[in-house]
Assembly symmetry: C2
Homo-oligomer: 542 residues x 2
């Protein structure tokens, strides 16, 4: 316990002693750069090409170059990528916010497709990249890589960057694609981490049926328990806040409790070796469905924007960090004598990433289309290309896994390991910048009528606010939706019966209204309290 609390800030600060003034300088620089990223991102908002990730990455790279030049190439250890900083502090708010703000209707409607893409797809991608790397790298003399390293490479480059996806695709313009690609990203994260852990712990020399079965069982157990933990944490927060009714005393307590409970769910998942990403994602979904409706109006505004802001800052932080870290000179020293070989390794890995993703997106889309009856629900070829493209970016998860596998406390001792680290950086930078720059225009070319397309694929052409909406949307619609929900509309009812997933939603909604909401709160099930309603929130925070 001494470690985590004291080492979080183990450097000294100028206020008291001046021994470690450089760390204060660097923190100033970093915070100032974050401000600059936000300002530049705002000014480039209208740009066709740029997004906030690329801006941050570019600023990070420029800063890295400046530092490298001012310190005359000695800044090798100025910034070391810390996987703990990433996994403990930066990733939780991003994934929680994604769960909190995700359009639940789209997510659950496409649940089976998302699971297929995220689990089976990642396995296909993993196998393709591992086998491809084994096939190609044996021809190069880049040093010792054992079978575990090749399998780890597969896991590392199967982890798509869900953060970048959030920035590139627009939830309102292309809801189906967004939910598919982002949902896949969340499940994919879990699968990659499970795969990676399995590779590190299983005896790889004896792969047989029982190992495979054990692996599948492990994955299913992990998925189920992680989800359950997140749901339980969310429901607990809803119940506690509803029963004790915090808002009576303090908005701050409600907000603090929501944040702490969400973080606790993440850390508990870490404690039990579960997939913390899945846990906090589902915790976010449950909190937005129940807890969010139990708090006061000002808490609702605060949580909605505070979570989004936290996530936003964490995202920029990551990209800035990856950009600055990329120029760490120690990593490049090993490979500087043969830049051509390093480039070849990176190109091969990039190619494998593209092939590996193509190897599951198109076949699985075909399979998914077979189960859908109406042509509107099917994933068309242009959409398939977009899904394939949007998931090509590799990000901080890949970096963290690569550092974990190929370094010991940030140092790259072996020649082969240095190649792998630099190649990972190259692939992450190239895919984020080049693919990221091209995604916005590509989506515009492939899906020119994206708004029309969105409303078409969401299968609610006739009534934009059908009665399924209040069940699964984020709960930000006005209360008028509830009233309209009580009046069954023929178009929606017909649609409900036409597809089985809608029937599941129907029964879930019945169950939700009969058992869940009376206990855990939620829209329409929170008693009227003076001072709390929407009409009065202009004076609520006085």
């Amino acid at each position: 316990m001494a470690l985590d609390l004291s080492s979080m800030a183990s450097e000294s600060v100028g206020m008291l002693n001046t021994s470690d003034h450089t760390s204060v300088v660097s923190m100033n620089l970093f915070v100032a750069l974050l401000c600059a990223c936000i300002l530049l991102g705002h000014l480039l908002e209208e740009s066709r090409w740029m997004n906030e990730s690329i801006t941050a990455l570019a600023i990070g790279l420029c800063t890295g170059i400046v530092i490298l030049l001012t310190t005359k190439g000695k800044s090798s250890h100025l910034l070391v990528f810390s996987e703990d900083l990433f996994f403990i502090y930066l990733l939780p708010p991003i994934i929680f916010n994604a769960g909190f703000q995700v359009k639940k209707k789209q997510f659950f409607r496409n649940f089976m497709t998302i699971m297929m893409f995220g689990a089976i797809g990642t396995l296909i991608s993993f196998a393709t990249i591992s086998l491809g790397a084994m096939h190609f790298f044996l021809k190069f003399s880049i040093g010792d890589l054992n079978i575990g390293d090749y399998l780890a490479l597969g896991a590392i480059f199967s982890a798509t960057d869900s953060v970048c996806t959030l920035q590139v695709l627009n939830q309102d313009e292309t809801p189906l694609l967004y939910s598919l690609v982002f949902g896949e990203g969340v499940v994919n994260d879990a699968t990659s981490v499970v795969l990676f852990n399995a590779i590190q712990s299983f005896d790889l020399s004896h792969i047989n049926t029982s190992t495979v079965m054990q692996f599948i069982g492990n994955f299913l157990y992990l998925f189920a328990t992680s989800t359950m933990l997140g749901v339980v944490a969310g429901l607990l927060s809803a119940y506690v806040i509803r029963k004790l009714y915090f808002g009576r005393h303090s908005t701050d307590r409600e907000v603090a409790l929501m944040i702490l409970m969400a973080y606790l769910s993440y850390m508990l998942a870490e404690l039990f070796y579960l997939s913390a990403i899945l846990t906090v994602f589902f915790c976010g979904i449950v909190m937005s469905h129940y807890t969010w409706h139990n708090v006061t109006e000002s808490s609702r505004v605060t949580t909605k924007h505070a979570f989004a802001t936290l996530s936003f800052v964490a995202e920029i932080f990551i990209f800035l960090y990856v950009g600055m870290d990329a120029l760490d000179i120690d990593k490049w020293r090993f490979v500087s004598d043969s830049p051509g070989k390093s480039l070849a390794v990176s190109s091969i890995l990039l190619g494998l990433v593209m092939v590996g993703r193509a190897a599951f997106v198109f076949p699985l889309s075909f399979l998914s289309n077979l189960t859908k009856k109406s042509p509107q629900d099917k994933i068309h070829l242009k959409q398939q290309v977009t899904i394939w493209w949007a998931g090509l970016m590799r990000g901080a998860v890949s970096m963290a896994l690569a550092y974990n596998q190929f370094t010991r406390s940030g140092h790259t001792d072996l020649r082969a390991n240095a190649y792998m680290i630099t190649s990972t950086i190259t692939v992450v930078l190239f895919s984020t910048v080049v693919f990221g720059l091209m995604t916005k225009p590509l989506v515009r070319i492939l899906l020119p009528t994206s708004k029309h397309f969105a409303s078409m694929t969401s299968s609610e052409p006739s009534s934009p606010k059908s009665f399924i909406v209040p069940l699964l949307t984020n709960g930000q619609d006005s209360e008028a939706n509830i009233r309209s929900a009580d009046i069954p509309r023929p178009t929606s009812l017909r649609m409900l019966l036409s597809t089985p997933s809608h029937t599941v939603h129907h029964y879930w909604r019945k169950f939700d209204n009969a058992f869940m909401r009376p206990v855990f709160g939620g829209r329409g099930f929170v008693p009227f309290v003076p001072g709390s309603p929407v009409e009065q929130n202009g004076h609520q925070w006085n």
Copy 2:
């Protein structure tokens, strides 16, 4: 730069490798305890005696005992107090929020009294405690203490706990006392830190007039530059947000920029060896006066509650932490053979704290009363007692300074140093718990008609919303205030002329309206933007 970013989370986490699982366990425990503190604090809200600080301190102590018992006394390094964690992460949000939410009218009206208490009072207290400690401790054989140590003791025990004051006094019930005690606390923090730095850097063997003059000059320079930095950072944020109008695109950007700019001001002050506490306090004041009015309605709600929540969690964190840290067994080992002597040292220090505070509160109040003409503005004896009492608590600042002076990286090597550390812990615990428990009842006994008293001392008996209010209040009043401000009321006008400080306010307001607000925004100077006004905020966050 490698240090601050990687060492922030230098321990590993279960997701990837399981080598340091204990740190995950301890983080879980800590987050769970934070939740428990919030829940218990809520349930004890109605209690006459308890407040959130004492609840957190008690829970921390109990946890410390449990850890001590389960590890059978081996948990000596389970929790080490980190002054960096405190100064870099926990203190900034607390002080910033204090500036953001402080009633500016009260603060600036009593500015001279606050400065006198904070600067001269702290010096008196410092001298009393230093001389007293020198006088008494020479009789005990507690080891080597040089003159620097005695002076450091004076600085350490002159630092009042502004965090605890915030919890004990109520801004709405006793605004004058709150602004005096809290304002003094902020200036006092700065003075203590300046004193402490001066003691560590000046040549103490040759104290003469020029050293004293140098010290006074240093203090004035520090106060002026720190304040300026905070004001400039606040104005810059107001200008940037007003000019670029972030809300057009994103609420998250506005909120993120406000938080980052405030934190940047704190870190810049650290960078230039200024008083970061003063800087971030004035940055909070300026931000609430200008920036807060330039952002969208939903950003206003979010910032107001997000800052309060951050501050709230940081406060609980500190008290929980101090409570858990108090039982660190290593510190007590040195003094366990002579518990009587340790108790005597603690008692002497506690007595000196009380005497040192009495030595400036009553004389300075007398001086302050001489300058006031109307009896309503004077500080009465009962109020003086309350001011004396409310500032007796010692907290995390004292702990941090004591650790800085008497330990090397958390270890207490010398016998005398061990005595000083354990005595500091004892004084902090005793003053927080015992004095803290007694403050609420004491305030009720001494100031039974506190509400009546508050309105009397604020010298606005006739019109609760006089035209000075919009100038200096926190800006949360309705827009109607501005309109009423344009109509001079005879009672207010007469009062304005009767006291000089009101005249200063008058000219400041004229200047503010003519030059500052047109440039930096502020209430009534932000153009109407569709989607932004109060009336529409029910739909703003859709």
